[in-house]
């Protein structure tokens, strides 16, 4: 694991290719975020992870959600809770860079799930930083490979983009273990944004996510699929080689298609059930879907959730 500081992550350490990638990412993310936030006046993300400072008497205009109802019960007077840091939330983006993320099918023009995840992470970073929220980043496979603590200044964006651009998928997946490591680095409550295909044991992943939820983190899970993985469109005899290990299978895809799709459906249902139980926002997307649309779906989903709570 390597912890990347702003000093270390200077532009001099990046290759020409990565620098181009950073530039493209920045442009891409900016475009996407402008599209997402156009006409919007209020962030869907709330700073709820700040520490308590003192009570203040309620005055007209204060938000009702800030009223301390317990105190009202004791004193019969309305007070609102004030916090030490009222700036913004602290979001940590966890990017899965395991081998399975390396798959890129024809329908996405060769865009791999990892590349898509990087774009999505850049967009989310841009969106959050534009709202003055602090954003951190961890790239994981079986362990945490790179880690950037959350910062809220726009200069931090460059650093995030560089780390994203230099991320390389490979190796096996052990998302559950990797998330436990991430948890040890996230000291304060905030938001966890996991971008992954979730090709790991659901039980292990669920256990790690439950830990975050228990700690009071707001968790968003972007599950990324390639369209091929959802349709299994292969006709001819095919040898399937694992992107994570040495296993391979030579088979007639037609004969197995039905069984495979059934298994995919079961997997998705299982993940949905687990995330629903943990009240995690699950956003399933495919690599041929525009990132902006995915983020809009997330925003819409969260606003629906907020409306329900009210």
């Amino acid at each position: 694991m390597s912890s990347v500081s702003q000093d270390k992550a200077s532009s001099a350490n990046l290759s020409e290719q990565d620098r181009d990638a950073v530039d493209r990412l920045q442009l891409f993310a900016r475009g996407v975020v402008e599209g997402v936030t156009g006409g919007r006046h209020r962030s869907p993300f709330r700073g709820s992870s700040v520490e308590f400072k003192e009570h203040r008497e309620y005055v007209h205009g204060d938000e009702l959600r800030t009223i301390d109802w317990k105190l009202y019960g004791k004193s019969d007077r309305l007070f609102i809770r004030q916090y030490e840091d009222e700036t913004n939330l602290r979001a940590t983006i966890v990017l899965d860079q395991s081998g399975s993320m390396k798959y890129g099918g024809k329908k996405a023009d060769g865009l791999t799930k990892h590349e898509y995840a990087v774009r999505l992470a850049a967009c989310m970073s841009m969106l959050l930083l534009s709202q003055q929220d602090a954003v951190g980043l961890s790239t994981v496979d079986t362990d945490v490979q790179q880690n950037l603590p959350p910062r809220s200044n726009m200069g931090h964006m460059n650093l995030l983009l560089r780390v994203l651009a230099s991320s390389r998928p490979g190796g096996e997946t052990s998302l559950g273990v990797a998330l436990q490591r991430v948890a040890s680095k996230v000291k304060r409550r905030g938001m966890l944004i996991l971008i992954s295909d979730c090709f790991d044991a659901i039980e292990s992943l669920s256990k790690s996510l439950a830990y975050f939820r228990h700690q009071g983190h707001d968790v968003i899970l972007f599950q990324i699929w390639d369209q091929d993985e959802l349709e299994f469109p292969f006709r001819n005899r095919t040898e399937f080689r694992s992107l994570e290990n040495a296993s391979k299978h030579l088979l007639d895809p037609g004969a197995l298609r039905k069984a495979y799709l059934k298994r995919v459906e079961e997997f998705r249902e299982q993940l949905e059930t687990e995330t629903s139980k943990l009240r995690i926002d699950l956003v399933t997307c495919t690599t041929n879907e525009p990132c902006g649309e995915v983020i809009k779906r997330l925003v819409a989903k969260r606003q629906r959730g907020k409306a329900k709570k009210k």
Binding site: K102, Y103, R235, F240, R241, E244, A255, K258, R263
Partner: protein
């Protein structure tokens, strides 16, 4: 199996094509670096065995398709059923024709009877085989109208046309055995046995599996094996039939002026669900060819009714009774029943009392033989004269018909000589045992072949503690004694014997061995009544006496019927001239003479005599048989009747399943007509082309390949 285009069979090698494609496909594949491997692997784990089987099945089908196509084009001929040496010519046929009267059952639609169809089909079959040797046998085992074998079709046709379906129930097993024997002697290598029958349940249901298996073994053991074909002439439905039949009278003899009633049973054989509930009938009675009465009745399906005909004759001799139904359809063979009775004077009986004679015993015997009183001359069958008061040997020469020795010790030499002469000339002798018998005298009779067995020296006695000796309780088969199997004539088995003179069955006389038999037995198996023929006469030897001190016989109701029956048996043999179809008639006649009985209505001939034919003839065709007047020879009986077997009257057919099972058991081929027979024969000779079946199989495989391929790749984009 052989092939008409054997070179095209090489195309079968094309089955290698799908195999090669399969193997090539195994080496040619695309590679994909796959991410969702854990999902793919779990799907493989569950479905790998199924995929393997599907793959193998598909491969098999794909290999079979070119293989079957090549077989089709090569036009295979199945010759598994082909038999060496079979050909259309040089066949030896034995045609076994069912001549039971059920074959004459009319067709309600006006078509041919089964018998007529059988003749037509057999002619067609026999005519198809050029220069084949044919012979004809009848299922009733009556003498075939066509003797020996012939290659002449016209001669065979003439013989066939003479067959009249008149016989009663047939014995298929023995008929088939005889036909196999006949066919075995044929020199041809192609031996065909064709059995044409309507396959009624009455004839075939009783045939046991072991007999059928034995027949099959005999057919297959022949070298070359004989081919049995069953030509089924079953009508479309069993239809219905009505039979009329005289119940056999207790006694066929009457005396002048005696009034007697004869029972006639009319039975309607039909399924209860035939629709028609009642059927009105009229039964016509004739006596000696003259119509005497008619009676109307109404019968439900399956019902029977008994009518009676009252008769009284003044003239001596044979009289013929008949009952008939007219124009009722069904089987004509059982629409008429015949019965004959003999009217004659009472039997003259001479009694010779023994030394132990008591008044009671003599009275008992007179009572038994003349139960209607001594003055009644129209009811009593016997007229008894005592030997007392006359010279014995002269008594015997007064032409009595029966002499009864009541435990007689011995007779004077002249009387002995006269008695022996009397018996040899046809008189009857009934001997009751006694305590004072001179056994040497009886032994001399036995040595002369005039006594069935030897009496023992000592009497057998049962003391009070031992219990009484009884007659062996069994179904009595002795002719005339069957009346004692029921209860009408009294209980024969309730008789208690305290004393009796045992008859030594082991010491049966060699001279009488052929005609000697035991009519009744004691419980210990020893004879109670032994019978033998002596010359033209009969001798009945009893181990018991009529004395009250010997048994309770005179006190029992069975006494009169038993004594009457013993007397009848002794004086005339008492063989009824009224037979049931299939019974054997024993014709007694001078060995040097020959003659023939003629069926009075159908003109059938039943020859007997010294021409080599047996004088014991199984008679199958119902009706009245008499000798032709101009050829009359002294034969007993001089005439007789045969009544149809009621089981043959039952029109129930073997079901299709039963018929198939019968074919299976006999290893026979079942055909419906001559054309089917020829097709079957041709198949056996030439084999069967099976390309059509293979083509169907090919189409099925193609369909299966498409279906299976679709199933396997179902949903593939």
């Amino acid at each position: 199996m052989s092939f008409l285009n054997i070179f095209l069979l090489g195309g079968a090698a094309a089955f290698l094509a799908p195999l090669l494609i399969h193997l090539l496909n195994r080496t040619r594949f695309q590679s994909v670096d796959w991410g969702a491997m854990h999902l793919l692997e779990s799907a493989i784990q569950v479905n790998s065995r199924r995929m393997q089987w599907e793959s193998l099945l598909l491969l098999l089908i794909r290999c079979l398709i070119p293989l079957l196509l090549a077989f089709c084009l090569a036009r295979p001929v199945l010759t598994a059923v082909q038999l060496a040496g079979l050909s259309g010519s040089g066949r030896a046929f034995v045609f076994l024709l069912d001549d039971s009267f059920s074959m004459d059952q009319g067709d309600p639609a006006g078509g041919l009877t089964p018998s007529e169809r059988a003749k037509r089909e057999l002619l067609a079959v026999s005519g198809a085989g050029k220069s084949s040797v044919k012979s004809l046998a009848l299922l009733s085992r009556q003498v075939s109208p066509f003797e020996g074998t012939t290659v002449d079709d016209s001669r065979f046709a003439r013989g066939l046309s003479k067959v009249r379906p008149m016989a009663g129930r047939s014995d298929p097993v023995s008929s088939l055995e005889a036909a196999i024997d006949q066919l075995r002697d044929a020199t041809s290598t192609n031996k065909q046995l064709v059995l044409a029958s309507d396959f009624r349940a009455a004839d075939w249901s009783g045939v046991d599996a072991a007999s059928l298996a034995a027949l099959r073994e005999r057919l297959e053991e022949a070298n070359p094996p004989m081919q049995l074909t069953l030509l089924s002439l079953q009508p479309g439905s069993a239809g219905e039939n009505i039979s009329v039949r005289f119940e056999e009278p207790e006694d066929f003899r009457m005396i002048p002026g005696q009034a007697k009633r004869f029972s006639v049973t009319v039975k309607r054989f039909a399924a209860a669900d035939d629709g028609e509930t009642q059927r009105d009938l009229e039964v016509f009675f004739e006596v000696d060819g003259r119509a005497v009465a008619s009676e109307r009745l109404s019968l439900a399906p399956g019902a029977s009714e008994q009518l009676s005909l009252a008769c009284e004759f003044d003239t001596m001799g044979w009289h013929n009774l008949s009952a008939s139904l007219q124009d009722i359809g069904g089987m004509p063979g059982d629409d008429r029943a015949e019965l004959i009775v003999q009217v004659e004077d009472p039997v003259r009986v001479v009694r010779v009392p023994g030394a132990q004679r008591t008044r009671d015993a003599g009275d008992f015997l007179r009572l038994a033989l003349m139960p209607f009183g001594e003055e009644n001359t129209t009811e009593n069958r016997f007229r008894v004269t005592n030997s007392v008061g006359g010279v014995l040997h002269l008594k015997f020469r007064e032409e009595p018909e029966l002499v009864i020795l009541e435990g007689t010790s011995e007779l004077p030499p002249k009387a002995t000589e006269a008695l022996q002469e009397f018996v040899l000339e046809g008189g009857g002798l009934l001997i009751f045992a006694g305590g004072e018998m001179d056994l040497r005298w009886y032994e001399s009779w036995r040595e002369a072949g005039m006594l069935p067995a030897q009496y023992e020296n000592t009497l057998a006695n049962r003391s009070a503690g031992q219990g009484k000796m009884k007659l062996l309780r069994e179904t009595i088969q002795t002719p005339g004694f069957s009346i004692f199997n029921g209860s009408e004539a009294g209980d024969l088995f309730s008789l208690d014997f305290k004393s009796w003179r045992p008859i030594v069955a082991e010491a049966a006389n060699e001279k009488t061995a052929g005609s000697s038999y035991t009519a009744l037995r004691f419980e210990d198996g020893s004879p109670a009544v032994q019978v033998c023929r002596a010359g033209d006469g009969m001798v009945v030897q009893c181990a018991f006496s009529l004395l009250e001190s010997w048994s309770n016989l005179p006190q029992r109701p069975v006494f009169v019927p038993l004594i009457q029956q013993l007397a009848k048996m002794a004086c005339r043999g008492d063989v009824s001239p009224n037979l049931t179809a299939g019974a054997t008639v024993q014709i007694q006649h001078d060995a040097a003479q020959e003659g023939k009985f003629m069926h009075q209505r159908e003109g059938l001939e039943l020859p007997f005599g010294s021409d080599g034919l047996s004088s014991q003839v199984a008679v199958m065709a119902p009706g009245l048989y008499r000798q032709a007047a101009e050829e009359q020879v002294a034969a007993k009986p001089s005439q007789f009747t045969v009544q149809s077997d009621t089981s043959e009257s039952d029109p129930t057919l073997l079901s299709a399943t039963e018929l198939q099972e019968l074919c299976g058991s006999l290893g026979a081929t079942l055909v419906k007509d001559s054309q089917e027979y020829e097709r079957s024969a041709s198949l056996k000779v030439n084999g069967r082309e099976i390309w059509r079946w293979l083509l169907i199989g090919l189409l099925v495989l193609l369909f299966a390949e498409i279906l299976l391929g679709r199933l396997i790749t179902k949903g593939a984009i």
